[in-house]
């Protein structure tokens, strides 16, 4: 009997982790569809930034209520993993509380897990209330209708159930130890300390050991199966951020926020144009065999770089970016969160085509127009509020800028007034129609 449980456990574990690995490989494959970008410099600074922002949650607490609740759930999640380690060992070897040899320290660990589980439970319930009952601006946007809203709630329900199962498991285990049930009772006396689940004991009053074992085993199995299911749910959910937030912050931009990259392909052309020795009739330099001609800016996910695509998978849809966006606050269509969600949705669509057909085949859609509207792109003031607000180092502005570059340099599709300003810059060296020769007139005026 025991051996069957162990084998079943092994199968569940291997299947759960195997499916997870397959999905993570798909995410990585999709991210690699983007252009390469070198972010291997300044390793020390990158690690420090990751430690501070992803591990240390320094930007989460800028909004104290959600920030603090998030820290509790996050710390709970990280620390309770030690308990998961014990569950896995017990499951594989049929042991009971294998780590209890640590004695007093083990009691301390279990006690802290219990307190964390309760705090997580409270945190998750407050999160649910915030999302579903309080009318918080960030959670009311049009891009949060349907799946994104349900996804967020499913996660919350899931965590509630997991925490309750954990406490039920501990309570019944404790009762079984008190009853001196075989396998549960230890020569060392009671192992573990149960400051929270002890209050559940009255529920199990008068139950036989057999019933208690069934409840304990059920809670134990559901808990670990739930965790394995949760692991595999990540891929389909905004909850992927719990893994990707770390690499995402590591690879984020280190330069000042105001610095936007200079396109090298443009630099090459400008140099050629300004070179007095260049032969205007020379044949264009031979392109590498099979290389695509350089495209300016981005109209689809393939034109974005790998960090931008990683950004889209990391986005938690928290909407702090959108809440800070001046365009969004004044009722314009732009929502930086939607830019990130659209990018991921399009990338997922491309990934699905590759999964079914083996390679990408044009489905007549692209990121521009089919997902992100021009009106959204032109509403951006490039103020960097969205970049500043993101707790995990996402840069929606860089995507907006790359798409504007495509509109202007590939399609000449700038709004008319901007096109006029650009012509003025080109002809007069100023966005207004004044002559460059009049630049110093102010000095002569009183």
């Amino acid at each position: 009997m025991q051996i069957i449980a162990q084998v079943l456990f092994l199968i569940a574990l291997v299947a759960g982790i195997g499916f997870f690995v397959r999905n993570i490989r798909r995410v990585l494959r999709n991210i690699k569809l983007g252009r390469e970008v070198d972010r291997t410099d300044n390793k020390g600074e990158r690690f420090a930034k990751m430690a501070r922002i992803a591990f240390g949650q320094s930007k989460m607490v800028k909004r104290p209520v959600s920030g603090l609740l998030h820290v509790i759930v996050y710390v709970g999640f990280v620390i309770i993993n030690i308990e998961v380690l014990e569950i896995i060992i017990d499951g594989l070897f049929g042991t009971h509380r294998i780590l209890s040899f640590m004695g007093g320290f083990y009691d301390f660990l279990i006690a802290s897990f219990e307190i964390l589980a309760l705090l997580v439970l409270i945190g998750v319930i407050v999160f649910w209330i915030r999302r579903n009952i309080l009318n918080i601006y960030r959670f009311l946007s049009r891009e949060l209708k349907g799946w994104p809203k349900n996804d967020a709630n499913y996660i919350l329900y899931f965590e509630m159930v997991l925490m309750v199962l954990f406490l039920v498991m501990n309570a019944t285990d404790y009762q079984l130890q008190l009853n001196g049930a075989p396998h549960y009772a230890s020569e060392a006396g009671i192992v573990g300390s149960f400051p929270i689940s002890q209050f559940l004991l009255p529920i199990f009053d008068g139950m036989s050991n057999a019933t208690l074992i069934i409840i304990e085993r059920a809670a134990w199995w559901l808990h670990i199966l739930g965790i394995l299911f949760f692991l595999n749910y990540l891929y389909y959910s905004k909850h992927l951020h719990i893994l990707l937030a770390f690499p995402n912050v590591y690879f984020s931009k280190l330069q000042p926020q105001g610095e936007m990259d200079n396109l090298q392909s443009v630099t090459d052309e400008v140099k050629l144009m300004m070179d007095p020795d260049a032969d205007p009739f020379a044949a264009p330099a031979e392109e590498e065999e099979g290389a695509d001609p350089a495209k300016f800016g981005a109209s689809d996910v393939f034109d974005l770089n790998q960090v931008q695509l990683l950004n889209s998978y990391t986005c938690t849809e928290c909407g702090r970016c959108t809440a800070e966006c001046p365009a969004n606050q004044t009722g314009k269509k732009l929502s930086p969160r939607k830019i990130m969600m659209d990018t991921r949705d399009r990338l997922e669509e491309v990934g699905d085509i590759i999964n079914t057909k083996g390679k990408y085949e044009d489905n007549g859609k692209q990121l521009l127009d089919d997902f992100i509207l021009r009106e959204e792109l032109w509403a951006c003031t490039t103020c960097n509020a969205c970049v500043e607000a993101c707790p995990v180092g996402i840069d929606p502005l860089s995507i907006i800028l790359d798409m504007r570059r495509y509109l202007v340099m590939e399609e000449s599709a700038a709004p008319n007034e901007l096109a006029i300003a650009m012509t003025n810059i080109e002809n007069n060296g100023a966005p207004w129609p004044y002559n460059q020769q009049d630049r110093l007139n102010w000095a002569k005026e009183n």
């Binding site: 936007m260 400008v270 509020a385 202007v408 300003a421 966005p431």
Partner: protein
């Protein structure tokens, strides 16, 4: 009538075989916009007051390309940058000061990769160093005790992390510095960046500058201080929109200092 300002150009310096300590990059707004020209003049007066050896490029200056770049025209931006860098390098410029955060950001952060390496300062940073060195004396004056709030320009604040230089200058004027609910790294844009200055906004409930002006009005200021010619225009329009232009002034930090001492 006050006599015209003395504004030396790089070409004049070159002709005399001399180099100024610093180049004052005036920018398009500072050169052509009637409101921004007043900021330019106020800053020049302060430079004279502090005895700074400076010059401008004058007719040799051209748009840095900031609005073009942020509107997506990388090509035009780099053409502008290449031309400007050629001029700046030709004069062997080492230090640049500008009253426009957009010019500041572009020359400081985006020109180096294209061959333009200079020490670039925003005018509030430069004025602060002049104060610290004792070259410029600022204390109290006309604005002492007045309620003033500072609107952070995105391209000075969030884009480059400078929040304190303009505030330090205002403190020197012994004003009552009050902060808006959204300030420093959480500051709200005036609505002009990214090329928006030159186009109508997309449809929405209200314009960004109105929203920002309302936030400023919440703290009941006598003066809204700005550090950017575009912010200045946007906030001035916003104040007019609320019919408060008689009681609330919008002034650049440089203007406040120059006016405080009747320069």
């Amino acid at each position: 009538m006050a006599e015209a300002l003395k504004v030396p150009t790089m070409a004049e310096y070159m002709a005399e075989g001399k180099k100024p300590e610093v180049l004052f990059w005036v920018g398009c707004a500072g050169s052509f916009d009637d409101r921004a020209k007043k900021i330019t003049k106020a800053f020049v007066k302060l430079l004279h007051e502090a005895g700074v050896d400076f010059a401008v490029l004058g007719t040799e200056e051209s748009c840095t390309g900031d609005p073009a770049k942020r509107a997506g025209n990388e090509f035009l931006f780099q053409m502008q940058a290449a031309t400007n860098i050629e001029v700046l390098n030709g004069y062997e410029i080492e230090k640049v000061v500008t009253a426009c955060p957009h010019c500041f950001n572009t020359i400081k952060n985006e020109y180096p990769a294209l061959g333009g390496n200079y020490e670039v300062m925003h005018h509030t940073q430069f004025l602060k160093t002049l104060l610290n060195e004792g070259k410029l004396k600022v204390e109290g004056g006309k604005f002492k005790g007045k309620r003033i709030t500072f609107h952070d320009p995105c391209y000075l604040g969030r884009a480059n992390g400078e929040y304190e230089a303009p505030r330090d200058l205002l403190r020197k004027l012994e004003v009552e510095l009050v902060e808006m609910r959204k300030c420093k790294s959480n500051g709200l844009c005036c609505g002009a960046g990214g090329g928006q200055m030159f186009k109508e906004p997309e449809p929405g409930n209200k314009d960004v500058n109105i929203e920002r002006t309302e936030q400023a009005m919440e703290v009941k200021p006598e003066v809204i201080a700005a550090g950017c010619p575009f912010c200045n225009t946007m906030m001035t329009d916003g104040v007019k929109g609320t019919n408060k232009e008689d009681s609330v002034a919008v002034m650049d930090v440089a203007e406040l200092i120059a006016n405080a001492h009747d320069l």
